[in-house]
Protein backbone atom coordinates (compact mmCIF):
# COMPACT_ATOMS: atom_id res chain seq x y z
CA UNK A 1 0.00 0.00 0.00
CA UNK A 2 1.00 3.59 -0.59
CA UNK A 3 0.42 6.34 1.95
CA UNK A 4 1.45 9.96 2.15
CA UNK A 5 3.69 10.31 5.16
CA UNK A 6 4.73 13.86 5.98
CA UNK A 7 3.95 15.01 2.43
CA UNK A 8 5.94 12.18 0.80
CA UNK A 9 4.55 9.05 -0.83
CA UNK A 10 5.84 5.94 0.94
CA UNK A 11 5.17 2.32 0.14
CA UNK A 12 4.65 -0.43 2.72
CA UNK A 13 3.91 -4.15 2.53
CA UNK A 14 0.36 -5.23 3.37
CA UNK A 15 -3.07 -3.59 3.00
CA UNK A 16 -3.23 -1.79 6.29
CA UNK A 17 -1.64 -1.50 9.71
CA UNK A 18 -2.10 0.33 12.96
CA UNK A 19 -0.56 3.68 13.78
CA UNK A 20 1.59 1.85 16.35
CA UNK A 21 2.93 -0.48 13.67
CA UNK A 22 3.67 2.44 11.37
CA UNK A 23 5.65 4.19 14.11
CA UNK A 24 7.57 0.99 14.75
CA UNK A 25 8.28 0.46 11.05
CA UNK A 26 9.60 4.01 10.73
CA UNK A 27 11.42 3.78 14.05
CA UNK A 28 9.65 6.84 15.44
CA UNK A 29 10.32 6.44 19.15
CA UNK A 30 10.20 10.08 20.28
CA UNK A 31 7.80 10.45 23.22
CA UNK A 32 6.11 13.71 22.21
CA UNK A 33 4.69 12.66 18.86
CA UNK A 34 1.57 14.04 17.26
CA UNK A 35 -0.08 11.78 14.71
CA UNK A 36 -2.79 12.92 12.32
CA UNK A 37 -4.43 10.53 9.88
CA UNK A 38 -6.44 12.29 7.14
CA UNK A 39 -6.55 15.38 9.34
CA UNK A 40 -7.81 13.55 12.45
CA UNK A 41 -5.70 13.65 15.58
CA UNK A 42 -4.92 10.14 16.85
CA UNK A 43 -4.47 10.00 20.61
CA UNK A 44 -1.67 7.97 22.13
CA UNK A 45 -4.21 5.56 23.64
CA UNK A 46 -5.50 4.86 20.11
CA UNK A 47 -2.13 4.09 18.52
CA UNK A 48 -2.71 0.35 18.63
CA UNK A 49 -6.27 0.50 17.31
CA UNK A 50 -6.25 3.38 14.79
CA UNK A 51 -5.74 2.03 11.29
CA UNK A 52 -3.66 3.39 8.42
CA UNK A 53 -4.66 2.12 4.97
CA UNK A 54 -3.82 2.65 1.32
CA UNK A 55 -4.14 6.29 0.24
CA UNK A 56 -4.16 7.75 3.74
CA UNK A 57 -2.46 11.05 4.48
CA UNK A 58 -0.43 10.73 7.66
CA UNK A 59 1.32 13.50 9.55
CA UNK A 60 3.89 12.61 12.19
CA UNK A 61 5.06 15.65 14.09
CA UNK A 62 7.86 15.61 16.64
CA UNK A 63 6.95 18.20 19.30
CA UNK A 64 10.42 19.37 20.24
CA UNK A 65 11.28 22.08 22.75
CA UNK A 66 11.76 25.74 21.91
CA UNK A 67 9.59 28.77 21.63
Amino acid sequence: MKIILNNKVEEFAGDQFTVGELLQAKNFTFKMLVIKVNGHLVKKSEHNTAVVKDGDDVMVLHLISGG
Binding site: N6, M32, K36, L61, L63, I64, S65, G66, G67
Partner: protein, 202 residues
Protein backbone atom coordinates in the same frame (compact mmCIF):
# COMPACT_ATOMS: atom_id res chain seq x y z
CA UNK B 1 -3.94 44.73 -2.14
CA UNK B 2 -2.70 48.10 -0.91
CA UNK B 3 -1.43 48.53 2.62
CA UNK B 4 -4.51 50.68 3.39
CA UNK B 5 -6.79 47.85 2.26
CA UNK B 6 -4.74 45.33 4.27
CA UNK B 7 -5.06 47.51 7.37
CA UNK B 8 -8.83 47.82 6.87
CA UNK B 9 -9.14 44.05 7.01
CA UNK B 10 -6.61 43.39 9.76
CA UNK B 11 -7.96 45.97 12.18
CA UNK B 12 -11.14 43.90 12.49
CA UNK B 13 -9.18 40.75 13.40
CA UNK B 14 -8.13 39.19 16.70
CA UNK B 15 -5.07 36.96 16.99
CA UNK B 16 -4.34 34.89 20.10
CA UNK B 17 -0.74 34.27 21.11
CA UNK B 18 -0.02 31.54 23.65
CA UNK B 19 3.36 32.22 25.23
CA UNK B 20 5.39 35.45 25.09
CA UNK B 21 8.93 34.15 24.77
CA UNK B 22 11.03 34.25 21.62
CA UNK B 23 8.26 33.19 19.26
CA UNK B 24 5.36 34.98 20.94
CA UNK B 25 7.01 38.36 21.52
CA UNK B 26 8.49 38.63 18.01
CA UNK B 27 5.31 37.37 16.36
CA UNK B 28 3.22 39.89 18.31
CA UNK B 29 5.49 42.73 17.18
CA UNK B 30 5.11 41.74 13.51
CA UNK B 31 1.33 41.53 13.83
CA UNK B 32 1.10 44.87 15.65
CA UNK B 33 3.23 46.52 12.94
CA UNK B 34 0.94 45.40 10.14
CA UNK B 35 -2.13 46.50 12.07
CA UNK B 36 -3.92 43.47 13.51
CA UNK B 37 -6.70 45.01 15.61
CA UNK B 38 -6.50 42.95 18.75
CA UNK B 39 -3.87 40.65 20.23
CA UNK B 40 -4.65 38.29 23.10
CA UNK B 41 -1.38 37.40 24.85
CA UNK B 42 -0.70 35.05 27.75
CA UNK B 43 2.43 34.14 29.72
CA UNK B 44 3.16 33.64 33.43
CA UNK B 45 6.86 34.47 33.25
CA UNK B 46 8.99 37.53 34.04
CA UNK B 47 11.52 39.10 31.68
CA UNK B 48 15.01 37.82 32.50
CA UNK B 49 18.41 38.92 31.26
CA UNK B 50 18.88 35.56 29.52
CA UNK B 51 15.80 36.23 27.37
CA UNK B 52 17.30 39.28 25.68
CA UNK B 53 19.32 37.24 23.16
CA UNK B 54 16.10 36.54 21.25
CA UNK B 55 12.95 37.91 22.86
CA UNK B 56 11.46 41.34 22.12
CA UNK B 57 12.19 42.96 25.48
CA UNK B 58 14.63 45.57 26.69
CA UNK B 59 17.28 45.59 29.39
CA UNK B 60 15.27 48.03 31.50
CA UNK B 61 12.29 45.64 31.45
CA UNK B 62 14.07 42.86 33.36
CA UNK B 63 11.85 41.71 36.21
CA UNK B 64 8.59 42.87 34.60
CA UNK B 65 5.84 40.45 33.69
CA UNK B 66 6.37 39.51 30.06
CA UNK B 67 2.77 40.28 29.14
CA UNK B 68 3.04 43.78 30.68
CA UNK B 69 6.40 44.49 29.04
CA UNK B 70 5.18 43.21 25.67
CA UNK B 71 2.01 45.30 25.84
CA UNK B 72 4.18 48.35 26.52
CA UNK B 73 6.42 47.56 23.53
CA UNK B 74 3.47 46.91 21.22
CA UNK B 75 1.91 50.28 22.13
CA UNK B 76 5.21 52.02 21.39
CA UNK B 77 5.04 50.55 17.89
CA UNK B 78 1.32 50.91 17.25
CA UNK B 79 -0.82 52.80 19.77
CA UNK B 80 -4.00 51.62 18.01
CA UNK B 81 -3.49 47.93 18.74
CA UNK B 82 -5.71 46.55 21.50
CA UNK B 83 -3.96 44.05 23.74
CA UNK B 84 -5.61 41.68 26.21
CA UNK B 85 -3.10 40.25 28.66
CA UNK B 86 -3.30 37.14 30.85
CA UNK B 87 -0.46 36.54 33.31
CA UNK B 88 -1.31 32.91 33.95
CA UNK B 89 0.06 29.43 33.33
CA UNK B 90 -2.49 28.24 30.77
CA UNK B 91 -4.49 25.07 31.29
CA UNK B 92 -6.92 23.53 28.83
CA UNK B 93 -10.01 25.42 30.04
CA UNK B 94 -8.07 28.72 29.99
CA UNK B 95 -7.06 28.11 26.39
CA UNK B 96 -10.66 27.50 25.36
CA UNK B 97 -11.90 30.54 27.26
CA UNK B 98 -9.15 33.01 26.36
CA UNK B 99 -8.66 32.09 22.71
CA UNK B 100 -12.20 30.99 21.87
CA UNK B 101 -13.03 34.27 20.12
CA UNK B 102 -9.77 34.68 18.24
CA UNK B 103 -9.64 34.40 14.46
CA UNK B 104 -6.33 32.54 14.59
CA UNK B 105 -4.23 31.11 17.43
CA UNK B 106 -0.43 31.19 17.56
CA UNK B 107 1.27 28.50 19.62
CA UNK B 108 4.45 30.00 21.07
CA UNK B 109 5.24 27.80 24.07
CA UNK B 110 8.69 26.42 24.75
CA UNK B 111 7.79 23.09 26.36
CA UNK B 112 6.57 20.16 24.24
CA UNK B 113 3.91 19.29 26.85
CA UNK B 114 2.39 22.76 26.46
CA UNK B 115 2.55 22.50 22.68
CA UNK B 116 0.59 19.27 22.94
CA UNK B 117 -1.90 20.80 25.39
CA UNK B 118 -2.91 23.58 23.00
CA UNK B 119 -2.94 21.32 19.95
CA UNK B 120 -5.24 18.92 21.78
CA UNK B 121 -7.49 21.72 23.10
CA UNK B 122 -7.88 23.35 19.69
CA UNK B 123 -8.52 20.04 17.92
CA UNK B 124 -11.08 18.83 20.41
CA UNK B 125 -12.87 22.03 21.41
CA UNK B 126 -12.20 24.58 18.66
CA UNK B 127 -11.83 22.45 15.51
CA UNK B 128 -12.80 25.34 13.22
CA UNK B 129 -9.89 27.44 14.40
CA UNK B 130 -6.54 27.79 12.69
CA UNK B 131 -3.56 26.95 14.91
CA UNK B 132 -0.10 28.07 13.84
CA UNK B 133 2.65 26.26 15.72
CA UNK B 134 6.39 26.86 15.98
CA UNK B 135 8.37 23.63 16.09
CA UNK B 136 12.17 23.57 15.87
CA UNK B 137 14.17 26.78 15.88
CA UNK B 138 17.16 26.31 18.19
CA UNK B 139 20.75 26.87 17.13
CA UNK B 140 22.02 28.80 14.12
CA UNK B 141 22.56 28.40 10.38
CA UNK B 142 20.70 25.83 8.25
CA UNK B 143 18.40 28.45 6.75
CA UNK B 144 17.05 25.95 4.26
CA UNK B 145 15.80 23.55 6.94
CA UNK B 146 13.27 26.10 8.16
CA UNK B 147 9.93 25.65 6.41
CA UNK B 148 6.23 25.34 7.02
CA UNK B 149 3.61 22.72 6.29
CA UNK B 150 -0.12 22.42 6.77
CA UNK B 151 -2.56 19.69 7.70
CA UNK B 152 -6.12 20.95 7.56
CA UNK B 153 -6.23 23.96 9.95
CA UNK B 154 -2.92 23.15 11.61
CA UNK B 155 0.15 24.96 10.32
CA UNK B 156 3.63 24.02 11.51
CA UNK B 157 6.53 26.46 11.14
CA UNK B 158 10.12 25.53 11.93
CA UNK B 159 12.76 22.93 11.14
CA UNK B 160 11.02 20.21 13.22
CA UNK B 161 14.51 19.03 14.14
CA UNK B 162 16.54 21.30 16.39
CA UNK B 163 15.39 21.03 20.00
CA UNK B 164 16.89 23.25 22.68
CA UNK B 165 19.99 21.87 24.39
CA UNK B 166 22.98 23.31 26.25
CA UNK B 167 24.99 23.07 23.03
CA UNK B 168 22.08 24.24 20.89
CA UNK B 169 20.51 27.32 22.50
CA UNK B 170 17.72 29.34 20.95
CA UNK B 171 19.13 32.51 19.35
CA UNK B 172 17.59 35.64 17.86
CA UNK B 173 18.00 34.91 14.13
CA UNK B 174 16.36 31.48 13.86
CA UNK B 175 13.77 32.23 16.57
CA UNK B 176 12.93 35.47 14.74
CA UNK B 177 12.62 33.67 11.41
CA UNK B 178 10.13 31.16 12.80
CA UNK B 179 8.19 33.83 14.73
CA UNK B 180 7.86 35.92 11.59
CA UNK B 181 6.98 32.84 9.56
CA UNK B 182 4.12 32.25 11.99
CA UNK B 183 3.01 35.88 11.60
CA UNK B 184 3.22 35.47 7.82
CA UNK B 185 1.04 32.36 7.98
CA UNK B 186 -1.50 34.37 10.00
CA UNK B 187 -1.62 37.02 7.27
CA UNK B 188 -2.23 34.37 4.63
CA UNK B 189 -5.13 33.04 6.69
CA UNK B 190 -6.61 36.49 7.34
CA UNK B 191 -5.99 38.08 3.93
CA UNK B 192 -5.97 35.06 1.63
CA UNK B 193 -3.00 34.18 -0.54
CA UNK B 194 -1.33 36.98 -2.42
CA UNK B 195 -2.36 36.70 -6.07
CA UNK B 196 -0.46 39.81 -7.03
CA UNK B 197 2.88 38.61 -5.79
CA UNK B 198 5.53 39.18 -8.42
CA UNK B 199 7.59 36.09 -9.12
CA UNK B 200 10.83 36.84 -10.89
CA UNK B 201 11.39 34.55 -13.84
CA UNK B 202 14.70 32.77 -14.06
Amino acid sequence: MTFEHIQQILKTKTVGIAGCGGLGSNCAVALARVGVGRLVIADFDLVQEGNLNRQFYFYDQIGMLKVAALKQNLFRINPDVRVNTFDIRLCQSDIIEIYGKCDVIIEAFDKPEMKYLILDAVHNYMPDKYLVMGVGMAGWGDNNLIRSRQSDKLIICGDEKNAIADECPPLAPRVGIVANMQANAVLEILLGSNEHQIHTEN
